[in-house]
C-alpha cells in the first residue's frame, strides 16, 4: 500500500435545519471518502468560520462549502457573495444545496459565481445519489486548490 498520504477533505456545511444536518451527515457517511464535516447554523457563523475568527479561530479553512440559501441572520446569498468577492476565499468551491428550485435563486447564485447549484431531493435515496455525486466529482475527481 503506497498511496499518497491521506489528507481528509474538510467540508463546511452551512445549514440551519438540524434535521437536514443529520440527514446530510447520514448520506455523506455512506460515501467512499472519509471527510471532516463541520456544521454552522447561520450565515454570520459561516463568515466567522471561513475567516477563522472568534470561536472558529483554531479551525482550518474548509476545502469545500455546502451552502443552504435560506439561513437566519445572514442568508446564503450574502455568504456566497462575500466569499466570492474575497481575494483568497473565493478559491473555495461553494456548492449551493437547497430546497429551492426557483429560477431566480439559480440565476442569482451563478451570477455570484457559485461553483454548482444542487437541489435537495425529498427522497433519501435521491439525496444519497446527490451526496455520492458530490463525493465522486468534487471530493475525488476535482483537483482543489491546496489551502
Amino acid at each position: 500500500m503506497t498511496d499518497a498520504p491521506f489528507v481528509p477533505i474538510r467540508i463546511l456545511l452551512v445549514e440551519d435545519s438540524e434535521a437536514d444536518v443529520e440527514l446530510t451527515r447520514e448520506v455523506l457517511r455512506d460515501t467512499k471518502l472519509v471527510n471532516e464535516l463541520s456544521v454552522v447554523g447561520d450565515g454570520e457563523q459561516a463568515m466567522r468560520y471561513v475567516h477563522q475568527e472568534g470561536e472558529f479561530a483554531d479551525r482550518e479553512r474548509p476545502d469545500l462549502i455546502l451552502l443552504d440559501l435560506n439561513l437566519p441572520r445572514k442568508d446564503g446569498r450574502e455568504v456566497l457573495e462575500e466569499i466570492k468577492a474575497h481575494p483568497t476565499l473565493r478559491r473555495i468551491p461553494v456548492i449551493v444545496l437547497t430546497m429551492s428550485g426557483e429560477e431566480r435563486d439559480v440565476l442569482s447564485s451563478y451570477d455570484a459565481y457559485v461553483n454548482a447549484y444542487l437541489t435537495k431531493p425529498l427522497d433519501l435515496d435521491s439525496f444519497a445519489t446527490v451526496a455520492r455525486s458530490i463525493d465522486d466529482f468534487w471530493l475525488s475527481l476535482v483537483r482543489l486548490p491546496s489551502s
Binding site: S17, A19, D20, L23, L122, D123, F127
Partner: protein, 386 residues
C-alpha cells in the same frame, strides 16, 4: 366660408336666394350661432342659442357678448375680441358660459371675423357648442382610468403576495416534509428486520403521503404561476415545439408503443415556454390515459377566423361529456391515483395558459374512441399580415 361672405348674419331679413340659404343653415343649426359687432355686441341669435342659454333673441340683441361668460371667465371675452381685432380666428376655445337660470355651461367657442367688401373687419360670427356632455364623458373616463390603475396596482400587489406565498410554500413547507420523509426512510433502512410487516406498511404509507404532499406543493406552485408571468411573445414555430415535446416524451412513447402524428403546424406569436408546457401536458395526458390499444395521437392546426385552432386527438379512454368541464379544475381527478397517477393539475395549467393568451380550451369525444382537446390562440397584431 361664412366669414368671406357679404355678412348675411347681420341681415337676417335678407331675401336673396343665397341669404335665404344661409338663414336656413343658421336657423337649423344645432350649434348656437351668434352674430356680433366688432365691439362684441350681439346682432343675431339663432334658435340653438336660445335653447342653449335660455334667452330669447329680443333679450340679448345689442347686449355685450361678455355677459354670456361666467364671472370667473368674463375676462376671456375681452381677450377674444382683441384676437378678433388682430384678424385672428378662434377655433374651439373652451370656456364657461352662464345660462339665463344662472347655471354654468361648458362650451367650445369658435369665432371668425367678417369683412366688408374692402376687407375691413366689420363684425364677427361665433359658433358655440355645449360640451358639458363631453366634459362629463371626459371626467367619467378619467375616473374609470383611475379605477383601472388602482385595480392594476392591487392586482400587482396581490400577484407579488402570491409570488411571495409560493416561494414560502416551496421552501418552508417542503423543509419539514423532507425531514418526515428522510427520517422515516432512515428508520426503514436502519431497522429493517427489527420491525414487523405492519410497521413497514405504516412507514411506507407515511413516506408515500409525504411524497404526494410534495407533488401537490410543486403542482400548486406550477398552477399558481402558469400564465401569470407576463408572456414573452416571439414568433414560435409550433412544429418545432411539438417536435421537442415528442423528443422529451421519448421513453413514455416507446414504452406505450405510441405513434404521434403532427400536421403542418404554423408559426404563431406566443410565449414559447408556455406553449411547450401546453403541448407537454396535452401529449403526456394522451399517452397516460390510453386504452388497450397502442396510442395513436394526432396534432392538427387550422385557421379559425383570425385565430388558430389546434387540436390533440387520441384514441384513449376518452372523457365523458358530463366531466368535460370538471377536468380543467385544478386537482379534480376522474380516476384513482392507482389507475392513473398524478395530482390532477395538468389540464388546469393548460386552461390557465390558453386563457391568459386570450384563447379557449375544451375537450370533446374523438371520432371512434378517445378524446380531442381543442384550443385556440388568437392572432397577435404582428401576424395580422400573413
Amino acid at each position: 366660408m361664412l366669414s368671406s361672405a357679404p355678412n348675411p348674419l347681420l341681415q337676417p331679413t335678407g331675401t336673396s336666394g343665397l341669404e335665404a340659404r344661409y338663414a336656413a343653415l343658421v336657423e337649423g343649426s344645432i350649434d348656437a350661432i351668434v352674430g356680433l359687432t366688432r365691439d362684441g355686441d350681439v346682432t343675431s341669435w339663432n334658435p340653438a342659442a336660445a335653447d342653449l342659454y335660455g334667452y330669447t333673441e329680443e333679450e340679448v340683441l345689442g347686449r355685450p357678448v361678455g355677459a354670456l361668460f361666467s364671472a370667473a371667465r368674463r375676462h376671456e371675452a375681452g381677450e377674444l375680441l382683441v384676437r378678433l381685432d388682430a384678424d385672428e380666428r378662434v377655433v374651439h376655445f373652451e370656456t364657461e358660459h352662464t345660462r339665463r337660470d344662472a347655471s354654468i355651461v361648458e362650451v367650445s367657442l369658435s369665432m371668425s371675423p367678417i369683412r366688408d367688401p374692402n376687407g375691413e373687419v366689420v363684425a364677427a360670427s361665433a359658433i358655440i357648442r355645449d360640451i358639458s356632455f363631453r366634459r362629463r364623458h371626459e371626467a367619467e373616463l378619467a375616473r374609470t382610468r383611475a379605477q383601472l390603475e388602482r385595480h392594476a396596482r392591487d392586482l400587482e400587489r396581490s400577484n407579488s403576495d402570491l409570488e411571495q406565498f409560493a416561494y414560502v410554500a416551496s421552501h418552508d413547507l417542503a423543509e419539514p416534509l423532507r425531514a418526515v420523509t428522510g427520517f422515516l426512510q432512515l428508520l426503514q433502512r436502519r431497522y429493517a428486520g427489527q420491525l414487523d410487516d405492519t410497521a413497514d406498511r405504516y412507514i411506507y404509507r407515511a413516506v408515500d403521503g409525504a411524497a404526494r404532499m410534495r407533488s401537490l406543493i410543486d403542482d400548486l406552485l406550477t398552477y399558481s404561476r402558469a400564465g401569470r408571468t407576463p408572456p414573452e411573445e416571439t414568433d414560435v414555430d409550433v412544429a418545432k415545439v411539438v417536435e421537442r415535446v415528442i423528443a422529451s416524451l421519448g421513453p413514455s412513447i416507446s414504452e406505450a408503443g405510441a405513434k404521434i402524428e403532427a400536421d403542418r403546424l404554423p408559426t404563431v406569436r406566443s410565449d414559447e415556454r408556455q406553449l411547450t408546457q401546453l403541448f407537454q401536458n396535452l401529449l403526456s395526458n394522451a399517452l397516460k390515459f390510453r386504452g388497450q390499444r397502442p396510442p395513436r395521437i394526432q396534432v392538427t392546426a387550422e385557421r379559425d377566423g383570425r385565430a388558430w385552432r389546434f387540436s390533440v386527438t387520441d384514441n384513449g379512454i376518452g372523457v365523458e361529456a358530463r366531466h368535460a368541464d370538471r377536468i380543467f379544475v385544478p386537482f379534480k381527478r376522474l380516476h384513482s391515483r392507482d389507475a392513473y397517477p398524478g395530482t390532477g393539475i395538468g389540464l388546469g395549467v393548460c386552461k390557465k395558459i390558453v386563457e391568459s393568451q386570450g384563447g379557449h380550451i375544451e375537450v370533446s369525444p374523438a371520432p371512434g374512441e378517445g378524446a380531442r382537446f381543442t384550443f385556440t390562440l388568437p392572432d397577435r397584431p404582428e401576424d395580422a399580415d400573413d
